[in-house]
Symmetry: C2
Subunit: 115 residues, 2 copies
């Protein structure tokens, strides 16, 4: 099978502030309500998920993920309002970039051996 992937990476001070993996992680945190559950659902180590969250939080002007310490549920995390805006903007850029080159990418894919 062949496909075209358009990866958008937002780079800040040599860190990738936002990219395909971080966007997926944000969506998983939003859905699961904690970083650990999100990491598990993505088959990602807890440490790696925390590292990605940390990079996002220090790259943007406001926090992307808010974490709660302790409490009945033993913590938990959620994507902030600001984080949801960044995520929506990122997904919109992905969609628009893909749409813009749809015809050209199909033409290029026809040059592959399995098409």
């Amino acid at each position: 099978m062949s496909s075209i992937k358009i990866k958008i990476q937002l780079v800040a001070n040599d860190n990738i502030a936002m990219g395909p993996g971080k966007a997926d992680l944000l969506e998983a945190i939003q859905q699961k309500g904690s970083i650990s559950a999100a990491a598990l659902s993505m088959e990602m180590s807890y440490k790696r998920a925390w590292d990605l969250v940390s990079i996002m939080n220090k790259s943007f002007k406001q926090a992307i993920i808010a974490t709660a310490v302790g409490g009945d549920k033993g913590g938990g995390a959620q994507v902030t309002e600001f984080g949801l805006q960044i995520l929506a903007q990122y997904r919109a850029i992905e969609a628009k970039a893909n749409l813009a080159v749809e015809g050209e990418t199909k033409a290029l894919m026809r040059m592959l051996i399995d098409c």
Copy 2:
């Protein structure tokens, strides 16, 4: 410094048939006239350059790189006419995708801490 990178990857049978690194390598081979000189100019190992060339050549319907064995110059390589067409199509897709989301990427970059 912050920036947005839009990486286009053409995937065929789990291999990346064309992507940013392979496109740069094609341009270097075109300029240098051999895979070894191209690899050197990109600070890439000769083996890795050959592996990338091999993936490209087996992914597309026609050869992307033609190599000459022996002769006065001890070989050499050049991008085929077909390879040049693929490269041009790829660069055009990159440029069009970037242009399509220029305004949106600038807006997103303004949310980064160093902007």
